[in-house]
């Protein structure tokens, strides 16, 4: 009797549990039609905790068809790791991820969705560089995003006190470094973990580390142009003209920048307020100038790579993602919403054809020498943006080879190897990686 009772109870409990499970997993069909009338809700990822939440808030307030849920990530590397995980699991895929690397790598990894049909109608809003950077094989796999062009800050006082003209070319910079070295001043900081200056000079030199050649990649880290760029860095290292302050130790880095022992700092527009916040003694001694050129003749060029954000494969509403991003990047309301509460500066809309009317609004008050007006600084930034090279193909496996470049760069900065050897080693790594992945390649001779 008792057994029968227990069995009956177990049966009821089992049926109830099945019912609950079914309730959890079955689609709620009666409300499906009602749901379709609701605004599309998309997840947007990012690691910016300051400006983007305000942008999202403004977008949501002004739109009824699309609503954005901003998913704040801890950092850029954390975004890459988490994104890789969701793409592997195919669960919780967002509809927008900011640039975490070149669009080529995103396509090769199977992450980037073809959004050509959404971008084509709005192409006229964007600069040619922004469009080129988002395109691969004639299709848009990224949202057009302009490069953050590099210009330079020079410590005006250091140069004037030592009677040295501000360098216009890398040869000038090396010569200036040799003059400053006996006084304990370094002409540039090359952090051991950050090879960005090498890539910038390689871009100026016209290096093409990766190119598509039919159905295969042409890998070329060691051609004449690449070695020309490498030679510039090698001269700086061989002559001990650079400091090697790490970005990991920010207090030390800024203390050094502030000490009057550093002459030139390459940067992009978004670094300006960071320097104003962290520098003290040297505030008002810096001047914005053009990025040094490889040659005094020829067309002015500024380094800068456009890495677009992507609409991931698996996002069910790419139109909504493009609508949101277009509003952010091109509309007056979107640009205004990017204003920082801390600095009162907007985010420079680099994807537009002409950014000149926005550049003076991103110049901080105290950092720059008062002799140089905000408009003059803005003109330097506009010039760099207009002359930004933009394209620099980083191949199908950027995520894999960049850490290797960091390793090799660190060794070159410590004089364990030469910059040329570093490039050769990276090329060998790339070849091995492409071979492992089954991607076709040739090595240029």
């Amino acid at each position: 009797m008792r057994k029968a009772h227990t069995r009956a109870l177990a049966l009821v409990a089992g049926v109830a549990a099945l019912g609950l499970l079914a309730g959890c997993s079955a689609p709620s069909s009666p409300s499906a039609s009602a749901t379709s009338k609701k605004p599309a809700v998309i997840d947007v990822w990012g690691w910016d905790a300051e400006m983007t939440p305000n942008i999202v808030k403004a977008f949501n307030a002004s739109h009824t068809d699309v609503q954005v849920n901003y998913v704040l990530q801890a950092s850029n590397p954390a975004t890459v790791t988490n994104f890789r995980n969701v793409m592997k699991s195919k669960k919780g895929i967002p509809c927008w991820v900011p640039a975490t690397g070149p669009v080529t790598t995103a396509v090769v990894n199977g992450w980037a969705q073809d959004i050509t049909k959404y971008i084509k109608p709005i192409e006229s809003k964007f600069s040619a560089g922004a469009l080129a950077g988002a395109k691969l094989d004639g299709k848009y796999y990224g949202f057009p995003s302009g490069p953050d062009a590099t210009f330079a800050l020079v410590n005006e006082k250091v140069y004037s006190d030592n009677g040295i003209a501000v360098p216009k070319t890398w040869d000038d910079l090396i010569a200036a470094g040799k003059q400053l070295k006996p006084k304990g001043i370094t002409v540039i900081n090359l952090a051991g973990e950050d090879p960005s200056t090498l890539i910038q000079i390689e871009q100026l030199a016209g290096a093409k580390w990766f190119a598509i050649d039919g159905d295969r990649w042409k890998v070329n880290f060691t051609d004449a142009n690449s070695l020309k760029g490498a030679d510039v860095i090698q001269q700086i290292v061989d002559n001990d003209l650079a400091s090697h302050q790490t970005y990991q130790d920010r207090p030390s880095l800024y203390a050094y920048f502030d000490s009057g022992k550093l002459a030139t700092v390459p940067l992009a527009w978004w670094s300006l307020f960071g320097y104003q916040t962290n520098l003290k003694a040297s505030l008002g001694t810096w001047k914005a100038v053009d990025f040094p050129q490889l040659s005094s003749s020829g067309t002015f060029k500024a380094p800068g790579i456009a890495n677009p954000g992507i609409v991931p494969v698996g996002c069910k509403d790419p139109a909504a993602a493009v609508e949101y991003q277009t509003w952010v990047a091109t509309s007056a309301a979107g640009i205004a919403a990017s204003k920082s509460a801390k600095t009162d500066a907007i985010s420079l809309p680099t994807s537009l054809k002409d950014v000149s009317k926005y550049t003076s609004a991103i110049v901080p008050d105290k950092l720059i020498d008062p002799a140089q007006s905000k408009d003059q600084v803005g003109a330097v930034i506009s010039k760099a943006q207009s002359a930004a090279i933009g394209s620099f193909n980083e191949g199908p496996d950027y995520d894999a080879w960049f850490p290797e470049l960091q390793d090799q760069w660190g060794k070159a900065m410590a004089k364990q190897i030469t910059v040329k050897q570093a490039l050769e080693n990276v090329q060998a790594f790339v070849v091995q990686d492409l071979k492992t992945k089954g991607i076709n390649y040739t090595v240029a001779k």
Binding site: G192, Q248, D399, P403
Partner: protein, 328 residues
């Protein structure tokens, strides 16, 4: 009254059924569980929360990783088309066994462990012996103080020490300069020392606590007898206390070895300050992380993880066996 009657009636009836099986039923007699067995099962049931967690968060990932390691993802052409996943058996393991970078990192960390584990154990044991020698009230205060570093997450601890080591703004370099030492912990040849010091600082609290607990369990009358025989406190410590806690030393030593072979957070953060020394492949876990999240080869990373787990397991078993042999 009625229920009591029912109970008394049901009891003998059930026991009769069990003790005298009916031959006509043709079933094997049920064995009654012994009281001791039932008690053991009840006791074991308290471990189910742990067993469940262990199964879900350790056993299952290992099995999934093992499954992943038998596959390989390959692209073709420019790599733009969808990559194909195929079963490749032990290919990833064969590649891993010949991967010089991975084994170099393993040897590097093994050498580091050979230095670090004894140092950590010696410092922890010394701390525990000192605590054991003072009054319990005083010991409790220091015990808490020494445990604080262990409570700090590894990443946070590393950030703190990066600041302390900073050659330009950190306090350590000027202090050492006062005694005529010019030490730059960010220099390539000092990175291991810097990491080692940080790890010792972070782990002695945990080891010390376990050893101290073990020392407290040593019968005090043995010490009294030794003192009566004229033994000094140092002699008591090394001749009585240390042999008593040898088993605990083996346990903490094993935990230290396992932790050291899997070192990740500290070198990853130190990589930026000394990139010429600490490469992306500096330790086995860094190699695995790089393969999984930079190169994007999860299958190969899974194979490397399995191999690392095996190496750690074998190293632990060997050391445990050797320690036990010494004990006998």
């Amino acid at each position: 009254m009625s229920s009591a009657t029912k109970t008394s009636e049901a009891g003998p009836a059930r026991s009769a059924t069990r003790s005298t099986p009916l031959p006509s039923a043709g079933r094997r007699p049920r064995r009654r569980m012994s009281w001791r067995h039932v008690q053991s099962l009840k006791g074991a049931s308290f471990t189910w929360p742990f067993v469940a967690g262990f199964a879900v968060f350790t056993v299952l990932p290992v099995l999934l990783g093992l499954g992943q390691s038998f596959f390989t993802v390959k692209s073709s052409g420019l790599g733009f088309s969808a990559a194909q996943t195929s079963f490749t058996g032990f290919d990833n393991f064969v590649r891993a066994l010949g991967d010089e970078t991975f084994w170099a990192s393993m040897i590097r960390v093994a050498i580091y462990a050979a230095v670090m584990v004894p140092v950590t154990m010696m410092v922890s044991l010394t701390m525990a012996l000192l605590l054991d020698a003072v009054r319990r009230r005083v010991a409790n205060r220091f015990r808490l103080l020494l445990l604080i570093p262990y409570m700090i997450p590894g990443i946070v601890a590393t950030m703190i020490w990066l600041y302390l080591y900073s050659p330009n703004v950190g306090p350590i370099r000027p202090v050492l300069a006062l005694v005529g030492l010019d030490v730059n912990f960010f220099a390539g040849n000092m990175v291991w020392v810097g990491i080692g010091n940080l790890v010792v600082w972070g782990t002695i609290g945990f080891n010390m606590l376990i050893l101290y607990g073990s020392l407290q369990a040593v019968p005090r009358d043995v010490f009294e007898a030794a003192r009566v025989d004229g033994a000094s406190e140092v002699r008591i410590a090394f001749s009585i206390k240390v042999p008593y806690v040898r088993g605990t030393l083996v346990l903490t030593g094993l935990l230290s070895i396992i932790g050291t072979l899997q070192i990740f957070a500290e070198p990853t953060l130190f990589r930026t300050v000394s990139p010429e020394t600490i490469t992306k492949d500096f330790t086995p876990t860094m190699v695995i992380y790089n393969q999984a999240f930079q190169v994007g080869n999860l299958n190969y990373a899974a194979a490397l993880s399995i191999i690392l787990a095996l190496v750690v397991g074998i190293a632990s078993a060997v050391i445990y066996r050797l320690a036990n042999r010494v004990d006998k």
